[in-house]
Symmetry: C2
Subunit: 205 residues, 2 copies
DNA sequence: TCTACAATGTTGTCAACGTCTACATCGCGA
DNA sequence: TCGCGATGTAGACGTTGACAACATTGTAGA
C-alpha cells in the first residue's frame, strides 16, 4: 500500500512544499517506533521521499533537528499540563493532581520523546535541557501560590516546596515510564504524592 | 639473529593483557569528558593502543559495552548507598537522608554515567534499565520496614511509600543533575524531602 | 618436547551515516 | 521578462559499527 502523501500521489514535484514539517513528523514517528538511534537524516529524507541532502536546507545538522523535535515536545507537554489544570475545579489538591497526572500521562504516551527532551538527544551539552522544567515550573509556582493563599497547602518556603514537588512528579514520571507501569497504578502514585504534599497521610491506609 | 628478550617497556606485546578492563576504563573516562556520542569502539581501541577490531573480542557490539559500563555504575551506586546508610547511626530520618544524599552525590559526580544507566545509552529497549532501581529498592524497602517498626516513619502501605520515596529521590537526583545545582542546595532539598516523608513540615519554615 | 587448540589481536572490507560542495529547478517580485 | 533566492539533487569524503579471514600466543595434553 502506497504511502498516502498529503499533496500529490503520482508525480513528485521538485519542491516538497512542507518538507520541514514532514521531516519533524517522520522524526517523531521514527523516534517513537524505533528509538533515537534510528532517527537519521537520511532515513527521514527517505520517508519524506526526498534526496539525502535535502534536510540540510531546514536543519543545520542532526542535533538541530533533534532539538527542534524536543521543543515540539516541550510545547505539547506544557499545553497538556495547562489544559489539565485549567479545566479542573477550584480544589487545590485536585488541580495539583491534575497537573501531575498530565505529566505522567505524557511520560507514558511519549517515553522516547520525553527522554529526548531530558537528555537533549546528543551529548554536546549544547542544550542542558533544563527547559523541561520551565513550563511546569511556572505553572506549579502559580499553583503553589494559590495553595498557600487558600491555606490548602502545607506552609513552607514556596521555592523549596516547588523544587520538591517538581522533583517528585518528575521522578514519578520517570519511574512510571521506565517501569512501564500501568496508567492506573501511576495515577494512584500521583494521588498519594499529592496527598502527601497537601498535608494528609500517604499510602492510602 | 632472533631476539629472545621477553618483554621490553616500549615494545608492544601482541596481547594487551587486560584489554576488557582498559576498554571499560577508557569508556568511562570518555563518557565523562566527552559524552556518550564520543564513546565509539574505534576511539576506545585507539586509547587502549589496539587495533579497531580488537574490542569485538570482548564486547559483542557497542551497545553491549555501554550496558556493561552501566552495570559498573549500578554496582558503584549501590555500594555508595549501602555504605552511606550503614555507617549512619540509628535515627531513621538520618539514614534515609544519608541514602538520598549518597544518591544525589552520585548524580552530581557522574551525570553522564547516571544518564547512561537510566536510558540504556541506546534505544533498542534491550534493557529497560529498571535495574537502576533494584539496589536502592531493596535498601529502601528494609529502611522503611525499620522506620515503621520504630514508629519513626509516618504510617502507610510500605510499597506505595517506597515508590513515592524512590521517585522523589530519583527526581531530586535528576533535577539536581540537569540544573547543575550546587551540592549544598541539593542536600538541603534532600533534607526537606526527608523531613516531609518522616512527617514534619517541609520548606524549612 | 611437540602439537593442536582456544583465546586474543590485526587487517581489510562493506554499508550506512553526517556533512560538504557544486549544480538544478522552482517561484516570485522588480 | 528576467534574475535571484529558496529549495532540492547528486556526488564525494571521512568516520563509524560490523563482519570475515588471518596472525600470534599461551597452554593442555599426547
Amino acid at each position: 500500500m502506497p504511502e498516502p502523501e498529503p499533496y500529490r500521489s503520482g508525480d513528485k514535484p521538485y519542491h516538497h512544499g512542507s518538507l520541514r514539517a514532514a521531516l519533524l513528523a517522520a522524526a517523531e514517528r521514527t523516534l517513537r517506533e524505533q528509538g533515537v538511534e534510528q532517527v537519521t537524516l537520511r532515513e527521514l529524507a527517505r520517508q519524506a521521499g526526498v534526496s539525502h541532502g535535502a534536510p540540510s536546507r531546514h536543519f543545520r545538522d542532526r542535533q538541530a533537528l533533534l532539538e527542534e523535535l524536543a521543543a515540539v515536545g516541550f510545547a505539547r507537554l506544557g499545553d497538556g499540563i495547562t489544559a489539565a489544570t485549567e479545566k479542573t475545579g477550584g480544589d487545590f489538591a485536585a488541580r495539583l493532581r491534575a497537573a501531575a497526572t498530565a505529566y505522567v500521562r505524557f511520560a507514558l504516551d511519549n517515553p522516547a520523546l520525553l527522554e529526548l527532551m531530558m537528555t537533549g538527544g546528543g551529548t554536546d551539552g549544547r542544550e542542558p535541557a533544563a527547559k523541561v522544567y520551565q513550563r511546569p515550573y511556572l505553572i506549579l509556582k502559580e499553583l503553589i501560590r494559590q495553595g498557600h493563599e487558600s491555606g490548602e497547602l502545607r506552609p513552607g518556603d514556596p521555592e523549596r516546596l516547588l523544587l520538591i514537588i517538581m522533583a517528585t512528579f518528575q521522578g514519578i514520571a520517570g519511574l512510571v515510564s521506565s517501569l512501564k507501569m500501568p496508567l492506573e497504578q501511576a495515577e494512584a502514585l500521583v494521588a498519594d504524592a499529592t496527598t502527601l504534599f497537601v498535608g494528609g497521610p500517604a499510602g492510602g491506609s
